[in-house]
Structures are given as C-alpha cells and as structure tokens.
Symmetry: C2
Subunit: 139 residues, 2 copies
Amino acid sequence: MLNNSHYIDKLRSSGLRPTKQRIKICEILFNTEKTFHFTINDLVKKISKATNDKISLATVYNTVHAFKKKGYLKEIPINSDQSYFDTNTSHHHHFYDENQKDLIDIDDSDVEPVKINTRIPGKKIKSVEVLVKVEDINS
Amino acid sequence: MLNNSHYIDKLRSSGLRPTKQRIKICEILFNTEKTFHFTINDLVKKISKATNDKISLATVYNTVHAFKKKGYLKEIPINSDQSYFDTNTSHHHHFYDENQKDLIDIDDSDVEPVKINTRIPGKKIKSVEVLVKVEDINS
DNA sequence: TCAATAGTTTAGAACTATTATAATGTAGAA
DNA sequence: TTCTACATTATAATAGTTCTAAACTATTGA
Ligand SMILES: [Mn+2]
Ligand SMILES: [Mn+2]
Ligand SMILES: [Zn+2]
Ligand SMILES: [Zn+2]
C-alpha cells in the first residue's frame, strides 16, 4: 500500500514487470520482519485476507515460481502433499515437525558446518541442506 | 523364485501375510547386492519386466507403504513430482542431480557428523538428513 | 501521445501422483 | 474344511500443479 517503490524497483531490476498482483504478493511475503514458510494454499489465504482484488491461482503459482527463479524465495525439500516455500533465502536448515506438519528454521550457526568429503565429477554443488525430522516424544 | 523362505519369514514376522505380490516385490527390491532408489513408477516397470503376473498399482502403493512403515524402505525428502524411496535403510545422505533427476548415495562416512545445537521442547529427533543438490558445471 | 509489442493475468481444462472405495480373493487359524 | 480377517484389484475420486488460449497491460519508441 504505502511504500511500494522499493518492490517496484526490485521487480523492474529483475526484469519482472511490476504488476499490481506482483506488488501485492511482495507486500505479503516481504513486508515483515520475520521470515516464514508457506504453501501455495497458505499464500492464497493470506491474499484473500489482505485484499478484495482477487489474484488468480495461476498467477500465484506463476509469481512464486518467478520469485524462486530470481532467488527471492527458496523451495524446501520435503516430502509432503504440497510444496513449501521459504522467504528466508539465507543459508539455514529446518526441523520438520511430522505431527504438526510444521517447518521451523534452524539457524546456520546452530549447525556445525556440513562437510561433504566426496564429489561428483562434472557437477557443482548448488545447495547443502539439513532436514531434521522431529515428532512428539510420546510417539 | 528360488529362495523365498527368507522373505516369507520376514513378512510373517512383521505381521504381513506373505502374499505372492509381496514376495515378488521383495525379490525385486531386496534380491540385490546394491541398494537403490526408485519411484513407484520405476517399481511398476521393474515388476512388468520381472513377471507376467500383473500386480495392481494400488497393491504396489500399499506394499511400498507397508514396507516403509516396517522400516524396510525409507522415503527420501525431496521436492519432486513423485516420491522417491530407498532400499538403503542405513543412515546416509544424498546428492540430487537436478539435471538428471537422479539420486546418489553419500556414505555416512563421507559426511562429517551433523551436530544440531538446538532442540524443540517436547519433540524428539527422528532423523537427520543432508541433501546436496548438484547441477551440471555449465548451468 | 499513442499505437505496437512483448509480457502478464485469468478461468478453466488438463494432467498426474496418490488415495479411497468396495467388491472379490486368499492366507492362516480353528 | 470352514471361517474370518487381511489383501488385492479395477476403478473412481482427490488434489496439487501445470497448461491453454483469450483478454489485458506495462513499456517502448515513433
Ligand atoms: Mn507428493
Ligand atoms: Mn509436488
Ligand atoms: Zn526456513
Ligand atoms: Zn540412498
């Protein structure tokens, strides 16, 4: 609503036209102190609450994928019925609570550096991510 | 075909009736020196090649889930359009080749022990898995 | 300023992995 | 052998995601 010029610049400099749908999604994803994890369905709900102008589901998917491609979002590797995305694009790791089906950040400083002593010829490492699955103690 | 008594015992002692479908799937999954990764679709293809008796898709899903529940298979956390399973149930990690969409084991001894210096109250750790995404060097 | 153009949004259909259903079949117990 | 709980099966249903193609719009440059 207020200070969108930042998002407009960011989008334009990424080669993405600053449409009102993209700006709205930027507000929802990035206008917050804390980063968070979300599914497409979560985001659709947030959009509904935040505005009366509907954004089509296809546009939500398109935008999330565009933002991921530009590095403004990360996708979290997890087996689930839906994809999880992360507004925290810094290097960090996750707990996955299998009871609550909830993701919780693990700060990079809380994980000893992961050292991989083997490589694959002709391939370069894109990311190294630790997933810690947790469950209720009485399970 | 030959020495199925081992699988029959294993199934029976797990509380699973040793049906011919389950025995056949055991042969395909466990009659090999090397462990491997597979999708449900991969397994269906292997079954087609291995036998003329068809096994229904529902049974393949049911069996894989039953074996996973009993700890004879692991599911690998990865974002993909389909689930990946692993006949290697020991503690190890993975490369995921994003070009070939291929999983490669990383022996536990090739990864420095992953130390997590934070916990979630009321939760216990079920697994700690490292996923190393790789891609072609010229990407 | 204002068409031309390339990029974007959209509703809805299509796709596809997975799960549910409910009828039929079968292993194991008695 | 008979009974029953468990298992298999074909098929339908579900649901997340992607595709399509028509309508719309931000940007460019004449
Ligand atoms: Mn899935
Ligand atoms: Mn998926
Ligand atoms: Zn995160
Ligand atoms: Zn493996």
